[in-house]
Symmetry: C2
Subunit: 230 residues, 2 copies
């Protein structure tokens, strides 16, 4: 197909396709003559992955190139997922630090020793296999340090019930990846699952919190009326 | 205490305190004489809540004022939590729509009918009590519509295992709020729990995913060596 059809079928504007090609993200098509280049299905699939990484995943062009190069190597599904997983933006405590930034950073550093140790204790208690290069390990320590600064210290033991729930979630997540053998398709699915499915998980938690609030309220109201239902 | 001590003890700069006062977020202190105003512990507690809402929660000044006014009314814990819960920024699909925005929006609208129906079916199946005003209901529909656009349709049934897990998480969350009777303290805690604890939950999922990937890999490796361990 020509670039116009590639654009139409992939939904990616021609200018963007040319940009990705210049940046080395998209391989050159087959040059039929000086003005005509032929593209195939692999280009469509590749374009979809690039769009997922950049638009959904929020990856930079440089980071996207790294992931694409990794995915092109003869990796197994395990390695493909590990590469994608570590390349995605890391959820953070999202504190906007407009002032008192230095003070906070100092407190951060003071606390981070303790927080990092708590993360290690949690990982060990859970028996989790986590690579030393995982960006999620220091990010979790930072989130715990931020909570400590606000007066709430979570010990590794406090977090274990949440970690058990996370294991159940991850098992459900992996069930969604079962049976996908193609590396590019697997990488694309992993991006969608991590990036687009994450808000679904967060929103379900918010909805469940509202329901839990209602349930707790109803229970109290019944208690007050001296008609316990349990 | 004077404003300088209020600033020191709350960690909020004097200029910011004056700004909050001008905006009507922080009540006036007791005027001792034309140059001296006296503040008390309630001002410290109120300042902490304002900071949580604005800096952690990402609320606007106008929204913060609404929450503060609500929290000042004689509400019970249920209502306080409901107000805070609905005021917080809603997790979204986080798709950056630099181009094709109109096309995507059209697809969005087309799909949102189906997605909204799936959300209602899920809420009904789970027996969740969710207010009609909940911002999380349309946000979930939007996330599901975004996933549909990428070729992944989740039915209400697909989401039930995740919703069950969300219920367990919400029960753990509420255990953290038990015993807090003071309204301001409860509101502050709810902000911290929703905003700062949310990344903890997300990071635990990421870590658990990495571990699940390792476990799946090990299982396959054992299978290949013809030494099944199960």
């Amino acid at each position: 197909m020509r670039i116009s059809e590639l654009s139409r079928r992939s939904g990616v504007p021609m200018a963007t396709i040319k940009y990705y090609r210049r940046e080395g993200l998209l391989p050159e098509g087959r040059v039929l003559n000086p003005t005509t280049v032929e593209y195939d299905e692999e280009h469509i699939q590749r374009l979809r992955l690039i769009r997922s990484l950049i638009q959904l995943g929020g990856l930079s062009v440089a980071r996207t190139r790294e992931v694409l190069e990794a995915v092109e190597r003869p990796l197994d599904a395990f390695e493909t997922l590990a590469v994608v997983h570590h390349a995605l933006p890391v959820p953070s405590a999202e504190t906007s630090r407009k002032d008192g930034e230095d003070r906070e950073r100092a407190a951060d550093e003071a606390a981070s020793g303790g927080a990092a140790a708590r993360v290690e204790a949690l990982i060990e208690n859970m028996g989790w296999q986590i690579s030393d290069a995982s960006p999620h390990r220091p990010a979790l320590a930072e989130s715990l340090a931020a909570l400590s600064r606000l007066g709430t210290d979570y010990t590794a033991d406090d977090l274990i019930p949440y970690a058990r729930i996370a294991t159940s979630t991850a098992d459900l997540d992996f069930a969604q990846l079962e049976g996908i053998e193609d590396q590019i398709a697997l990488a694309e699915r992993a991006v969608v699952l991590s990036v687009l499915f994450e808000p679904v998980v967060r929103l379900l938690r918010r909805l469940a919190q509202e329901d839990a609030n209602h349930r707790r309220h109803d229970r109290r109201a019944c208690g007050r009326a001296e008609q316990p239902t349990e």
